[in-house]
Amino acid sequence: MATPIIMPKFGQMTEESAIVEWCKKEGDKVAKGDILFTVETDKSVMDVESFEEGMLLKIAVPPGVTVPVQSVVGFLGQPGEAVPAVPVARTPVAPKKTEAAPSTSAPKPVASAPSPIPASAPAVAPAPVATAPGRLKISPRARALAKEAVIDPARIAGTGPSGRIVEKDVEAFLEANRYDQLRISPAAKQLAAAEGLDILMIQGSGDTGRIGVDDVKRALAERPRPMSKMRQIIAQRLTQSVLTAPHFFVTVEVDMTDLVNYRAELKAKGAPYTVTDFISQAVVLTLREFPDVNSSTDGRNIRWNSHLHLGVAVSLEQGLVVPVIRNAEELTLAELNGRAKDLADRARAGKLAPAEMTGSTFTISNMGMLDVENFTAIINPGESAILAVSTTRPKPVVRDDQIVIRSIMKMTLSSDHRLVDGAMAARFVNAVKQKLEDMELWKRLTS
């Protein structure tokens, strides 16, 4: 009997996941510990290893399709073994978003029908997509005519019994849309038909407005496609934050000249500290003085967090992850450095466990390496503030009534006004600034 391969559950909150890529093909030999496929969860991309050995007999869930965790995604066994025709999900989840997933009882969920666009996409301009012929009431002759014309019958008003679209409705629609005036190259029409586009919705750019293959390809490139799981999560969380937490922003300039020089000195001696480490340490020290800035609210109650879990945003190709340094208040500068490096390395390799990306109480977003003057960040939901750190650059500044060149870094604190008032935010960022400019402090901490 073939062994089902199960979509694992990553973390407590994960209800569904999508396979990014199968690393084995059907018929491939699989050894214990081989990576079978990679999965996109709310937080990151994870490798899934095989617990058994044998042959990958069947791939039941193709890449890009979201399925509930614990679903069967394929079968492993000996060559020639029978595969159950109907994959069964062990814990069927309420069909909340199952339109994006193949029905688990479907015999062949492999047909990769383009997933419908999530309903929450009103900002996306209408595209020439022919909708899947779901429950559209249409006669076979009308459907055949629409198909031959390469148009989307869902746009046609039916005049048959209970609004059914009949052949003459399609004919009238084609005439009303001046279909006979439409110019399209044979190859363009073929491509549009194969991709399920509506050619009446495609703008032609050829001589006399003729639709060419390039025009169809442009329409295809513009066709709305589902956001990756990661982007959906980012979209949802950040929108929630902006809509619920009234943000305000306070910016200060930090003179980093001495610290940058000191860091270079330390580096020459082999110490591994990064500028981010110093900023993290300064934030940790400052947060001890400002418990309001290390708090959360639901709008009625305030919770002061006793621990400081510091999130440090890391930019990845697929999006942003925020690995969390737990109990940062207990760590020395050297320990902070070690933890930050380990987390960032594993974040880039996609090897962070979900628990390592949740639960932060304050976040630093550092765009220092991206050559920016200044920026503002959006507060992570559940936190009271976020510090946006920009690039350190040489600038003319006034010191003792003289213009001198110093290395200046701007940082901007975004605060949730429900928890933090303007004066407190100003005192907070200035306290961080003072620490960064206090060489005695750093000499003490690194000696």
């Binding site: 044979p186 190859a187 293959v213």
Partner: protein
């Protein structure tokens, strides 16, 4: 100082059509040419070589006339007379261009142009003002440094002026210029050796097309083709030219260098207009023929895109329209390539090899002229035509023809690909019988495994 709406620099196949089109659109136009109207194409390229090849071809037909029952004795090629005819053809066309320019009110300046500033050119110390300038200065044969300077070592332009062919000739460079002249000379009895550094001659073509041409050149024209090796220790004196290729010593009366062409920008003083050439010496342009200086356009070989006369013309027309009109227009980029070897070659669009490199799924269909009634009737059965089509959409995306009239046949394929026809549509298009062009229809049928005049791959 006389000032024009448009001044074109270079009167080759890129420049003179640009001047005429700009004049048609109502602009005041001048054209500057430092040598002869018609440029390389007319004077030292396409037209003279095709005149000579036509002569060689006629000679070859006479020698093979016995298949039609014609006996010809004592046919002799008077090469000097052929050269005289070539000069006459060139002279006639050159005069034609002169009268076309004059008829369109284009003023011609003879001399080398150099920029004074971005709106002023100097020609023989005369200043010419220009609102818009179109650079069409072309290219010239590159003479590599390893070749000795000697009258027995020539490039294509000098070769076309010679009134006597050598008995033996080495051609360095197996590109289309080298191969065309090698075939022409071999058809007139010269013993020719081609030396090509890369692994094959005519390397831009698909392997099956190359194989067809190379085997004909080697077997029928007795041309020696040495590939994958450089020619070294080249020396020339009054007795001949010598050199070694992979240990073997080659000798010949003449060495023809055909190793490529370089863009001409000498003396233009581009820096006075704020223009710079690329590392390869090219003037870079976009699909509208615009350079990085707003009022200056460039077309043809000097832009280094595809060095073909008809592409230069297409660019020239677009550049003229963009210089005069307000709505910019891109030039087409689907360029047929024709090579007048024996047999002839025509290609257009994507090659099978390019498609493979792009990981594009394609299907192909071929039809050999040996299966064609017209081919058998005229005794021209070498070669084939081939379609390359997108496997998913059936769209025609490339074509190659090698064999009789291939350079003419490629026109149908070009129009079909530009119109984005499908294989099925081309296969249903009625082609006149008996003609060579029928082969396109047959090859389209072959793409779908529906050939009428070729045996099925599997016997039913």
């Amino acid at each position: 100082m006389e000032t024009f709406d448009v001044v074109v620099v270079g009167a080759g196949p890129g420049g003179y059509p640009a001047a005429i089109r700009a004049a048609q659109l109502g602009a005041s136009v001048a054209i500057v040419e430092k040598e002869q109207l018609g440029g390389t194409c007319l004077n030292w390229g396409c037209i003279p070589t095709k005149t000579l090849i036509a002569g060689a071809d006629a000679f070859a037909r006479i020698k093979h006339a016995e298949i039609f029952g014609i006996t010809v004795k004592g046919a002799v090629m008077d090469y000097a007379a052929l050269i005289e005819r070539k000069d006459k053809v060139v002279g006639q066309m050159r005069a034609g261009i002169g009268s076309l320019l004059a008829g369109n009110g284009v003023k011609t300046f003879t001399g080398a142009a150099g920029f004074v500033d971005r709106n002023t050119l100097a020609v023989n110390n005369i200043r010419v003002g220009a609102k818009k300038i179109i650079l069409a200065t072309g290219s010239t044969s590159a003479m590599p440094g390893f070749l000795p300077k000697h009258e027995r070592v020539v490039e294509s332009r000098r070769f076309l002026e010679m009134t006597k062919l050598p008995d033996t000739m080495i051609v360095v460079g197996g590109g289309f210029i080298g191969c065309e002249l090698a075939c022409m000379a071999a058809m007139l009895g010269v013993k020719v050796t081609i030396v090509e550094l890369l692994e094959d001659i005519l390397l831009l073509l698909d392997p099956d097309v190359r194989r067809e041409v190379r085997s004909h050149m080697e077997k029928e024209l007795a041309i020696r083709v040495l590939t994958g090796k450089a020619m070294e220790n080249i020396a020339a004196d009054s007795t001949g030219v010598r050199g070694t290729v992979g240990g073997e010593t080659l000798t010949a009366e003449l060495l023809l260098s055909a190793v490529g062409r370089r863009p001409v920008t000498d003396g233009l003083q581009l820096e006075n207009a704020g223009l710079k050439t690329s590392e390869r010496g090219l003037i870079e342009t976009d699909d509208y023929c615009r350079t990085k200086v707003a009022n200056i356009f460039a077309v043809g070989d000097v832009t280094g895109k595809i060095q073909l006369a008809h592409y230069a013309t297409a660019q020239g027309l677009a550049a003229a329209e963009n210089a005069v009109n307000t709505k910019p227009r891109k030039h087409d980029v689907l360029v047929p390539n024709v090579i007048f070897t024996a047999p002839e070659i025509g290609t257009v669009g994507l090659s099978e090899e390019d498609a493979g490199k792009q990981d594009r799924a394609v299907k192909t269909g071929r039809f050999r002229f040996a299966g064609l009634g017209k081919g058998l009737a005229t005794g021209e059965t070498t070669g084939f035509v081939k379609w390359i089509a997108d496997a998913a959409t059936d769209q025609l995306i490339g074509a190659a023809a090698v064999g009789p009239h291939a350079t003419e046949l490629i026109a149908e394929a070009t129009a079909a690909i530009r119109a984005e026809l499908t294989v099925a549509g081309l296969g249903r298009t009625i082609h006149a019988h008996p003609t060579f062009s029928e082969s396109w229809m047959e090859a389209a049928h072959a793409v779908h495994g529906e050939s009428i005049h070729a045996p099925p791959k599997k016997r039913r």
